[in-house]
């Protein structure tokens, strides 16, 4: 028993140590790497946040939602409207002036981010009532519909979102500390939730809804919990994204965003947070490397002109290949644990 406790403490120290290492690494990057590298790392962190929270509803609770872009949009717009200075807003809203309380509100980044997440969570709460009346394919379609609704609303509420013109001049708040700080916090919260009794109940619902209900689990409430937590973190990620790119418009939150996230969680392994983290980073970097395929190139005698959007084709093919040959993704439902890692090192030692 004491041995078990001691080992538990070791693992916890390992976890804290690795987080310290991560932030030390970020410190080095911030001071010595170029702008481009920093930007990709920021985007990676935002995708980690989104993918991990998205995996909670799709992989753990098994409810195939296609609407994370809705929550990101709500989070991004809410946060942006709170951080842009009133003077900037006046410049921005040229067709119709911005409505009253929003025109004067001006908050620092952290409260704005939290309010953005809260608004997204609120939308998730309201959406849960119609969405969880249906299951499976129907649920996917309903959430897809909501994703579109949010985009269309953002396009047409001129006096709040500035319509298709979008919001410009957002302060560039997002840096490595914000993006990775939120990512670490999200991973912490979501993995803890998954490993708790509530996470077990969500997995039970994924495995067999009827049996879960017969075992006393309130199915609707647990689906709702997964959905709202997902929405909260997706909203925060949206806020971070907005303050990284500093210009947002409804087109940023189209279905392509959801598609990207779907590729990430499927390649990582539905239900595995470790897989989502690894895949989010790989896909972000792959997206940068694959810019090459969109440039004009010559293959032997053929001259291919640059085709924008070629990267999406590559991702789609990747998704198809994963679905056919490795449906489990990188990690299946397995998770990284220090126990496994130390065991791995020990067997390595013995072999060496």
């Amino acid at each position: 028993m004491s041995d078990w406790r001691g080992r538990d403490r070791t693992y916890r120290l390992c976890a804290y140590g690795s987080i310290l290492c991560l932030f030390a690494f970020l410190f080095l990057v911030e001071n010595y790497a170029d702008e481009y590298q920093i930007r990709i790392l920021n985007v990676s962190a935002i995708f980690v946040t989104m993918a991990v929270s998205y995996n909670l509803i799709n992989g753990v609770a098994g409810q195939f939602s296609l609407g994370p872009n809705a929550f990101m949009a709500v989070g991004a717009y809410t946060t942006a409207l709170l951080t842009i200075s009133p003077a900037e807003k006046e410049l921005c809203f040229i067709i119709e002036p911005i409505i009253w309380p929003l025109s004067v509100l001006h908050l620092p980044f952290l409260p704005s981010l939290l309010i953005g997440g809260t608004f997204a969570a609120l939308l998730g709460f309201i959406m849960a009532f119609p969405v969880f009346r249906v299951r499976g394919d129907y649920l996917a379609i309903v959430t897809l519909g909501f994703g579109e609704v949010v985009r269309v609303v953002a396009n047409n509420t001129q006096s709040i979102t500035n319509g298709p013109l979008g919001l410009k001049g957002l302060p560039e708040y997002t840096n490595l500390w914000w993006s990775w700080g939120v990512a670490v916090f999200t991973v912490f919260c979501v993995t803890r939730l998954v490993k708790s009794s509530f996470g077990r109940a969500m997995q039970a619902i994924r495995e067999d809804e009827v049996a879960a209900a017969a075992m006393g689990i309130n199915v609707f409430r647990h689906k709702m919990l997964a959905f709202v937590v997902h929405a909260f973190f997706a909203g925060m990620a949206g806020g971070l994204m907005a303050h990284l790119v500093t210009t947002i418009s409804p087109t940023l939150f189209s279905f392509f965003l959801t598609f990207n996230l779907l590729v990430i969680i499927v390649i990582g392994g539905l239900g595995s947070m470790t897989g989502s983290i690894i895949a989010a980073i790989i896909i972000t970097y792959a997206g940068e490397w694959l810019r090459a395929v969109e440039e004009p190139m010559a293959i032997g005698p053929f001259n291919i002109p640059g085709i924008p959007g070629m990267r999406m084709v590559v991702f789609a093919i990747m998704l198809i290949l994963v679905m056919i040959f490795a449906r489990q993704g990188l990690m299946g439902r397995r998770e990284f644990s220090w126990e496994w890692f130390c065991g791995f090192l020990r067997t390595g030692e013995r072999r060496g």
Partner: protein
């Protein structure tokens, strides 16, 4: 106030009368068998009792409360648990986790307490796990506690499903064909097992079964359904010689 009472339960699926005018009264600690040919409506009765189906007509009372049309998880919390004809375990979870889930409905901590592992949640989680281990030891599944439920042998899966139902602390247990597909020796083991939990927990049990020897040996009281209609009730010996029951199972005698 009766312990468990079903009155005039009727279930129609469109034009099909799955169950008609089914009534049953159970005392605490009864062991009742529900038998009948395939398609007689036995599982439909279970589905109505556990809130999976809303009966077309009729009332279900449990410990003095009308539970007709109550959602499944609330019926479970009131003290009715069940198993399924086609085993429905959480296959990708471990044996232990399957049982621990049975306690989740009675968790007091909120999800925030769970995320931040606050003391109340920690002690509840510890308690749930130790109760689950005890329960698994009682049903002799403790040696496979960390295996995935889907990898267990068939007989063990049946047992685990019953253990999982017991974890929800029921007063009435509904078993849907607990020995379907078992050989005579396994059937005998299951009979002893059901007898032992019946005594140990003082539970009322209603079970559906096709295996006549099993039902006759185990139950004190039998109800026979055929095409949704209750055709006979009584002790095993009464049922064995009941002309309508023989007819339902074997067909009409020649020349009658």
């Amino acid at each position: 106030m009766s312990f468990f009472k079903v009155e005039h339960l009727t279930m129609k699926f469109g034009g099909l009368m799955a169950v008609s005018d089914f009534s049953l009264t159970t005392k605490e600690g009864d062991l009742i068998g529900l038998i009948g040919p395939n398609g007689a409506g036995k599982t439909t009765v279970f589905n109505m009792i556990t809130g999976r189906l809303l009966p077309t007509e009729g009332k279900i009372y449990f410990r003095g409360e009308d539970i007709t049309g109550t959602p499944s998880h609330i019926i479970n919390a009131r003290g009715i648990a069940r198993t399924f004809q086609n085993i429905r375990l959480f296959n990708d979870l471990t044996v232990l986790e399957n049982v621990v889930i049975g306690y989740h409905g009675r968790l007091h901590s909120s999800f925030l307490e769970a995320i931040f592992r606050l003391p109340r949640y920690k002690s509840e989680e510890k308690k749930m796990r130790s109760m689950a281990r005890e329960l698994l030891a009682e049903v002799q599944l403790d040696n496979v506690a960390d295996e995935k439920a889907g990898t267990l042998a068939y007989g063990q899966q049946r047992k685990l499903e019953i253990a999982r139902a017991l974890a929800t602390n029921p007063r009435l247990l509904l078993l849907d064909e607990p020995v379907a597909g078992m050989n005579p020796r396994e059937t005998g083991d299951m009979m002893d097992f059901i007898n032992s939990i019946h005594e140990a927990y003082g539970l009322a049990i209603i079970l559906i079964e096709h295996d006549m020897r099993f039902v006759m040996g185990l139950c004190e009281h039998l109800v026979v359904l055929d095409h949704g209609v209750t055709i006979a009730t009584g002790t095993p010996s009464e049922i064995q010689n009941h002309p309508q029951v023989i007819e339902a199972y074997l067909g009409e005698p020649e020349g009658a």
